[in-house]
């Protein structure tokens, strides 16, 4: 198979890469679209409702209709807002959410994946940039709810990034590499998905990633019963859509990361790699929706304390245990 990755750069390979990037963009957008649809369906079913069913067969075009609606909605920039930052914030939030997709290995023949030596850290580093967008959005709106929401959101994402990062160290320790492809290969080689030996790390990851994604029960920044909508209160139309898009892009990316790091990525018997990957991603996403259907949300002080006092020590314990096992074994 022709591999663009280890060849000198030529026009065809550039075009191939470009196509690859566009394909992933479309794929991600598609996944996001139907993630939202699936979310509404699953939530509906779990709440004894039917969920969207009007637009298109089985309501399949519901999200597309929503997006179109948002696209033609008037774009309101509040008079008191800081105009420049207000407009910039959604972009700052969105760009990294898409860029992190570049490292996620979607299938065994990782055609569309940059094989970076620092894959895991790449994800972590970029996702930290989104915090700026969120915070600036809250600040630039010049709205009290938005400011509180933005600050909370930033503080929350900061706090949970640490246990998230630490929980990943265990996986890196298992594989001896930061490269996501290598990590998948290592799991395949060991014949054991990391979720088993790294169960503690997995739990920490699961919780911390939920918080990173601002999803229930950690959806405080947007806590509609307190802050109405959090940092994007003032956003309308397509700017708002970009915040939503960012959120669901990260959901997808995080699902991909989870699948890759803990669930063996594209490896699995019988089925083709990309299908395995899709199944695992869906499982993670389903889990998120399931949580959303079940849990009330934390209170902000409990949330912060939880990260530092429970998750961080847990992650450290996991790390030391893994280290001990690894050192002895």
């Amino acid at each position: 198979m022709w591999d663009w990755r280890s060849q000198p750069l030529t026009v065809p390979s550039v075009i191939a890469m470009l196509i690859g990037a566009v394909v992933i963009l479309l794929l991600a957008l598609g996944v996001v679209t139907y993630t939202i649809y699936v979310q509404r369906r699953i939530l509906g079913w779990m709440q004894l409702r039917i969920g969207p069913n009007r637009v298109g067969p089985l309501g399949l075009f519901q999200t597309i209709a929503d997006v179109l609606k948002l696209l033609i909605k008037e774009d309101v920039v509040p008079a008191k807002a800081d105009r420049a930052l207000f407009m910039l914030a959604p972009i700052i939030a969105f760009v990294p959410s898409f860029t992190v997709m570049a490292v996620i290995p979607f299938s065994a023949h990782n055609v569309f994946t940059a094989n970076l030596g620092i894959g895991v850290l790449f994800y972590l580093a970029l996702s930290a940039i989104t915090i700026h967008g969120v915070m600036l959005a809250g600040w630039a709106s010049n709205n009290k709810y938005a400011l509180i929401g933005g600050m909370r959101s930033a503080a929350q994402m900061l706090s949970y990034e640490i246990p998230l990062g630490l929980s990943l160290v265990g996986v890196v320790l298992m594989a001896g590499s930061l490269n996501l492809n290598d990590i998948v290969l290592a799991q395949q080689h060991a014949g054991l998905w990391n979720v088993i030996p790294q169960i503690l790390g997995f739990i920490v990851f699961l919780i911390a990633s939920t918080a990173e994604l601002n999803r229930t029960p950690f959806d405080l920044p947007e806590a509609e019963s307190e802050l109405v909508a959090g940092y994007h209160v003032e956003y309308t139309g397509f700017r708002f859509a970009f915040f939503m898009l960012t959120e669901y892009m990260y959901l997808f990316a995080m699902a991909g990361l989870c699948a890759t790091l803990f669930l063996g990525g594209w490896s699995g018997p019988l089925l083709p790699g990309w299908l395995w990957f899709a199944i695992k991603v869906f499982l993670y996403i389903f889990f998120q929706f399931w949580l959303q259907a079940t849990l009330p949300r934390f209170r902000v002080d409990q949330l912060m304390t939880f990260s530092w006092k429970v998750l961080l020590p847990l992650a450290l314990v996991n790390l030391v245990l893994t280290g001990v096992v690894k050192a002895i074994w």
Partner: protein, 146 residues
């Protein structure tokens, strides 16, 4: 931790259950016989006694009658301002001839408040629609009368 898992199992169990919502505009709800929807009115029975207008707590009924050739009061105009009607059912309660009754019409969204002034004809049409929709109730009523 346990409680949280139990909660998860509860929501998961609901997933395959039968849904309780109606496909509303496609499937209309079944209203019981006593349902208090928009009034229906039978002009023939009305004796313009004005009791309904007097009992109405919001004064939304206005009517005028005239005596016909038999010196009987006959209804001339009968309007209900649905903007303020609270569907309390007191008018039907006091009506000595059962000329004002409640139907099961409940969809009353209008673009203008003016459209909410329901006159006698509209209300009578509502009666006819009701008769058409529930012939069984009339038969039963007749049967009981017999």
């Amino acid at each position: 931790m346990i409680g949280f898992l139990k909660g998860l199992s509860v929501t998961l169990r609901q997933l395959p259950k039968k849904k309780v919502t109606l496909q509303y505009p496609d499937v209309k709800p079944e209203w019981p016989e006593r349902f208090r929807g928009v009034h229906r009115f039978i002009p023939e029975l009305c004796i313009a006694c004005n009791q309904c207008a007097r009992i109405c707590p919001t004064s939304c009924i206005s009517l005028s009658g005239e005596r016909d050739e038999n010196k009987k009061m006959k209804i001339h105009t009968f309007d209900i301002n649905f903007d303020i009607c609270i569907l309390c059912d007191l008018c039907t309660e006091v009506c000595p001839t059962e000329a004002v009754l409640m139907s099961d019409t409940f969809e009353m969204a209008k673009y203008s408040r003016d459209d909410l002034y329901l006159d006698m004809h509209w209300l009578h049409d509502n009666q006819l629609k009701y008769e058409q929709a529930h012939p069984d109730r009339f038969e039963r009523a007749r049967g009981e009368a017999d």
